[in-house]
Subunit: 202 residues, 2 copies
DNA sequence: AAATCTCTCTAACAATCGTTAGAGAGGCCA
DNA sequence: TGGCCTCTCTAACGATTGTTAGAGAGATTT
């Protein structure tokens, strides 16, 4: 990993735990193992590190969103049970593994959670990433499931709101709360599975 | 308002926006209009301000929880429609006005949201206040509504989870996101009302 | 071989950080 | 009146903050 990447990696870990202002240049350099002036060779100032992280995150989620579009276009092979099909389709498209569980994304969400209250740019990205985008993806997928006859059309709007609120609550409760441990990941998965079977199998 | 109270008030406003470490003693004193040494007459150090805020919040929510117990004990007068009755009872017991909309509580929730990632005491209080306590209150109220015949008993567990996730999502989306404007409050109320009528009137 | 480019270092800068010693002013009790 | 308590002030402390000038080492290009 390049020095620049190391700096961004260490900075993200520290910013997402203690907040941007609470972390000093010397904290970051100490952990990376370089002198302060070396950091200023790679970044023009402290703010530039934060901006670079945000830019990297924007690019990253743009890629994920494009991938979701592609995934939801392709019809999936039919499963034995309707509920399983819906469940898998949603899990895939929400990309839990490559989004909420992904270390870089997870830490960025924590950082945005901390910094949103005094940084309007971060606040907008935070709202888009955690509320707007997921809702639109979920709406799109449920509409396709409805077209395919898996869900009655008149129920789509309510189902997607129900689903969206449940996933959002679980995200804040398990994935943006304290350390991201295996235990919390498992609790998240268990509740998602419980919701899906209750809602679509019963 | 006493100097001590002014300090706590100003500190809470600053901490909840920029985070504890990012706010300096001089920032607080400048806003209050005192010298730094005066602050140290009222608080033994910076951490003591934070601890005092947490202590005040604990006392505050203990009072609210006691009040909820009292409220949910008393049977409410019957309304014309079942849905209205459920709606009002829930709104009352969740105490939106005196909890989520209350300036002190709202700012404390923001502060806990920021500081939870590197302060275990705050993390536990955050989880209790936003997830554990609300869920238990909601469960208790729905059980009483079920006993009174308003809801079939077998549905209680699912309904309370559905309700809880919806309220939690709305809280993060509208009340713990950017400034707490009238617009956001109204959007929150509108969505709560929409949920209640859809879920219990349809 | 000479010059240039890339990267890291030493060493320091003014500004700001949390905190403290000690003086002074006003009210209350002896 | 004299002594004490409450509250605020002036002035400073060493430590840490973000940032910079400039040198040096190694690789690449001329």
């Amino acid at each position: 990993m390049s020095t620049r990447d190391k700096i961004m990696d260490v900075a993200l870990n520290m910013f997402s735990e203690r907040g941007y202002e609470a972390v000093s240049i010397r904290d970051i350099c100490g952990e990376v193992g370089i002198k302060e002036s070396t950091l200023y060779y790679h970044f023009k100032n402290k703010k530039d590190i934060l901006d670079s992280l945000i830019e990297k995150f924007r690019t990253h989620i743009d890629g994920l969103l494009a991938h979701v579009d592609e995934l939801t276009e392709k019809p999936r092979p039919k499963k034995g049970k309707k509920a399983d099909d819906i469940s898998l389709q949603m899990m895939d498209s929400y990309m839990i593994d490559s989004y909420l569980f992904d270390p870089f994304c997870n830490l960025m969400l924590r950082l945005m959670m901390i910094e949103q209250f005094h940084n309007e740019e971060i606040r907008e990205l935070y709202e888009k990433t955690l509320f707007t985008d997921p809702y639109e993806i979920q709406l799109s997928v449920f509409r396709k499931l409805s077209s395919a006859g898996a869900i009655p059309e008149k129920d789509v709007e309510w189902i997607v709101k129900e689903y969206h609120s449940y996933m959002t609550m679980l995200t804040f409760k398990y994935l943006l709360n304290g350390d991201l441990t295996e235990k919390r990941k498992n609790a998240y998965y268990r509740e998602v599975h419980e919701f899906m079977t209750r809602r679509f199998l019963a």
